[in-house]
Symmetry: C2
Subunit: 271 residues, 2 copies
Amino acid sequence: MKRTALFISDSTGITASALGKLLEHFPHTEFSQVRLPFTDTPEKIQIAKQSILKATVQDGIRPVVIMSLGNLDLRNTLKEADAYFIDLFTAFIDPLGIELGEQPLTGSGIAHGIMGSSYSDRMEAINFTLNHDDGMTNSGLEEAQVILVGVSRCGKTPTSIYLAMQFGIKAANYPLIPEDFERGTLPAALHAHTDKIFGLTIKAERLHSVRSERRPDSKYASLENCKQEIATAENLMRNAGISWADSTSRSIEELSAIILQKIASKKDKSN
Amino acid sequence: MKRTALFISDSTGITASALGKLLEHFPHTEFSQVRLPFTDTPEKIQIAKQSILKATVQDGIRPVVIMSLGNLDLRNTLKEADAYFIDLFTAFIDPLGIELGEQPLTGSGIAHGIMGSSYSDRMEAINFTLNHDDGMTNSGLEEAQVILVGVSRCGKTPTSIYLAMQFGIKAANYPLIPEDFERGTLPAALHAHTDKIFGLTIKAERLHSVRSERRPDSKYASLENCKQEIATAENLMRNAGISWADSTSRSIEELSAIILQKIASKKDKSN
C-alpha cells in the first residue's frame, strides 16, 4: 500500500520528521515522505493544503500529516483538509502544558534555533571531534569526554561525529594500528586517559568487505589480516580493561546510545 | 520550577529524545533530562520505576516520562509508577496503525537500526562529505548533491556534515578565498556545477569574533578584512546567480532545512 506522509511545520520540521521514524513500525505501507518546513503564512498553508490534495489523488487515499504549527489559526485552516493529522500541539504540547501549569511558547523555531544553551556546545564538540579524528593530534585529549579506539574502518569516525553533533560530546578517536599490535599496548598518548576510552570492534568478514572497497586485493583488506588485527585489538583492549561494542550490526545511533550509557554509569560510580 | 524528564525506551531512545525538543516550548520549567535506553527486560523496568521515584523525591513533583516500549507487559508495568506519561505507542503508533489498517511491529530497535534502506546511504554520504570538506578534492564533485560555498569559518563544515548524517545528502563544501576574490569568479572546478551550489554568508562582526578565537589579532580575523571578504563573496555569488542564506542567527538544522527546500524546488522545476 502506497501512502504519503507530509511533515508540515512553521520551522525546520525536524521534530516532526523525527517522529517520522515511527513510520518504520509499518513495513507493509510504502511511505513517500514530503517535508514542508517554514509553513508560517496563510499562503503557505494553502500550498500545504494543495499538497495534501495532490497526495490523495496520487495515492488514492488520504495522506498522513505530522504537523507542528504554533499559530492556532494556521493550524485550524490546515485541518480543513482531509488527512490523518498527528498534531504535535494537540497531542503533546498542550496537554503537557496543563501538567506543567505553564502556557507553551508558540513562536516558530523554538526547538531548533541557535539560542538553546546546548547549541554552542554542540558546535564546539563538532570542531573538537573533527580536529581529533583518527589520532590526528594528541593535544587537548584531556578535554575529550570519550576516546574511541579500534582497528581502521570499524566505524569510529561516524560514531564520533554523531556523538558530537547530536549530544555535544567531545569525542576523539584513535586507530589501533600494526605498531600498537607489535608493542601490545595502547598508544602512549592514551595511557593517561583509559577511563574515557571505549572500543569498537567488527566482524572480520564485514571489515574485509569494507576495506576491499577502499583498497581491493591489498594485504590491508585481506580476510586473513582483518581476522588477525581484530583478534589482536580485542586482546589489547581486554588487557587494558576497556569496554567495547561490536559495530557490525549496530547503527551509529545504537552505538552512541551504548557509549552514552557507559559514560553515565561511570559518572554515577564516581559520585 | 524544576522537573525531571525521563526518556525510557527499549532501544536507543532517539525518537523519544527527539520529542524532548518539545520541552523547549516551556522555558519556565527547568528540566533535567535522563535517558534510559535499552530498557527491555522486567528487571530494567524496575530500575526505571526506581528512577521515577527518585526524581519525584528530588523535585518534589512527579516527572514527565516519554516512553517507547514495544512490549505491552513492560509498558503496563512501567505505568504503575506515578508520572506524567507520554507513550509513543498509545499516543501515536497504535492509532496510526488503525488508520493504516496495519498492525505495528513492536520489536525494539525498529526505527534506528542499520536495516533501513537509508542507513548505508547516510554512511556513504558522511564519507563523501568528509572527503570533500573545505575544497579538499575536486574529484567526484559530479556525485555531490549540494556544494556549499562561502568565506572561511561561515559554517560550511558543520552544515555539510549535518546534511549528510541526517538526510544522506552528499554535501561537498568549498571555501571562497582571496584568489577567488581577485579573479572575481568561482573556483574553476565549480563552473560545471553551479546548479547545485548554495552559498552561506555571515555578519562581519560574528565572523570577526569566530576568526579571532582561532587567530587573534591577525589580518585574517580583522573586522575590516571580514567585511571586505563578505562583501566580495556576496557579490561573486550574486554575479554567479547563486542563492545564499545568512548563518549568523541560524542553526545548522535551520540552514539544512532551507537547503533541502532549495534542492526540492529545483527538482520540481526540472520535472
